[in-house]
């Protein structure tokens, strides 16, 4: 029996669509993204219907998530970060639903693809640059040459700081993609053993069950880590460097 743990990450085109040189085909990845977005919006809509001062179970559940993000933004950026709470909350829900949806059979984990996660990280980098220039003007460029460093060291410090700034989307992307890919490869390999071992397959089945629960935890933790690190990177744009 062939075990191909990487086959699950292959893109499959369902409906080919092309506009000029741009390929916007509906693939398993884009369908999963649409599904995650629709599901998140639908749940938010259903759970926030008939809002009460003393929340019902569904409302309090969504409030827990929302407060969690609001607190995260307040703790990392402060009250001036209020305007980006919708962005951070959407980012968190998109990644969380992407990670969790990928755990179901026949679905596709789009958070395991560099192109998807990388684009989100670049969005964060672009936003942090825009916010920095908006808040501090061109003084924001001081982040590449912090105060108190001798001018003689500028030729060394400035390239390092620029690479350090540009490396943030890479580290964000690598972390999430690595976690998702490794988790799904492990699940695939163990699941293949369940079939291959016949009657003794219940042993790997037990492990696969435990691993699924573990992966669900990882899905939540990674969505949290991705969002809090984006907050930390964005917080540097709000701080002034004099």
């Amino acid at each position: 029996m062939n075990i191909e743990p990487l086959a699950q990450f292959e893109l499959k085109t369902f409906i080919p669509i092309r506009i000029g040189p741009v390929d916007i085909s509906l693939t398993n990845s884009s369908i999963s993204m649409i599904l995650a977005t629709v599901l998140a919006l639908f749940l938010l809509f259903v759970m926030t219907r008939r809002l009460r001062i003393i929340p019902h179970a569904a409302q309090s559940m969504i409030e827990v998530f929302y407060n969690f993000i609001v607190n995260m933004v307040y703790e990392t950026i402060g009250t001036k970060g209020e305007k980006i709470i919708p962005f951070i909350f959407s980012l968190f829900l998109f990644i969380l639903f992407g990670n969790l949806l990928g755990l179901f059979p026949y679905t596709f984990t789009f958070t395991s693809h560099l192109s998807v996660v990388g684009t989100m990280a670049l969005l964060g980098l672009g936003l942090s640059t825009i916010i920095g220039i908006y808040h501090q003007g061109w003084r924001w460029l001081r982040v590449f040459f912090p105060a108190g460093i001798p001018v003689l060291l500028a030729p060394i410090i400035v390239p390092i700081e620029i690479i350090s700034f540009l490396s943030k989307p890479f580290s964000l992307t690598v972390r999430l993609v690595m976690n998702m890919v490794v988790g799904h490869i492990m699940l695939d390999v163990i699941a293949a053993f369940v079939v291959a071992l016949g009657l003794a397959g219940f042993v790997p089945l037990f492990f696969a069950g435990v691993l699924i629960i573990f992966e669900a935890g990882i899905a939540l933790l990674q969505a949290y880590i991705y969002t809090i690190l984006t907050c930390i990177y964005l917080s540097e744009s709000f701080e002034s460097h004099h």
């Binding site: 390092i160 350090s164 490396s167 580290s171």
Partner: protein
């Protein structure tokens, strides 16, 4: 400081008071950071890796664009490694600052 910031600072003070009282009654609760050791390790590792990749990509692009010798790539990978270390240092310093608050 506006009203919202004051309210936020007050709520944090209250939280600290509750935590202190809670510790008196049930004993010290392990810090959140201590429980997230594995998460911290992955964060640090990907920061180091991210620096190297960013340095490599920038070096490669410069080398391709200006058609220079490969030593530019080497220099940028080296700088990327230092940038990764700098990111880890900034991250850890942030956690330390948060702990001392």
């Amino acid at each position: 400081m506006d009203d919202r910031e004051q309210a936020f600072v007050k709520s944090k003070e209250l939280e600290a008071k509750i935590k202190a009282l809670h510790e008196q009654v049930v004993g010290k609760v392990p810090d959140r950071l201590d429980r997230q050791g594995a998460g911290l390790a992955v964060t640090i590792m990907s920061d180091l890796l991210g620096g190297l990749i960013a340095g490599g990509v920038i070096g490669f692009l410069i080398q391709r664009f200006f058609d220079t010798k490969p030593f530019i790539l080497g220099i940028f990978i080296f700088l990327g490694g230092i940038a990764g270390l700098l990111n880890v240092y900034k991250y850890v310093r942030r956690i330390e600052n948060g702990k001392n608050k």
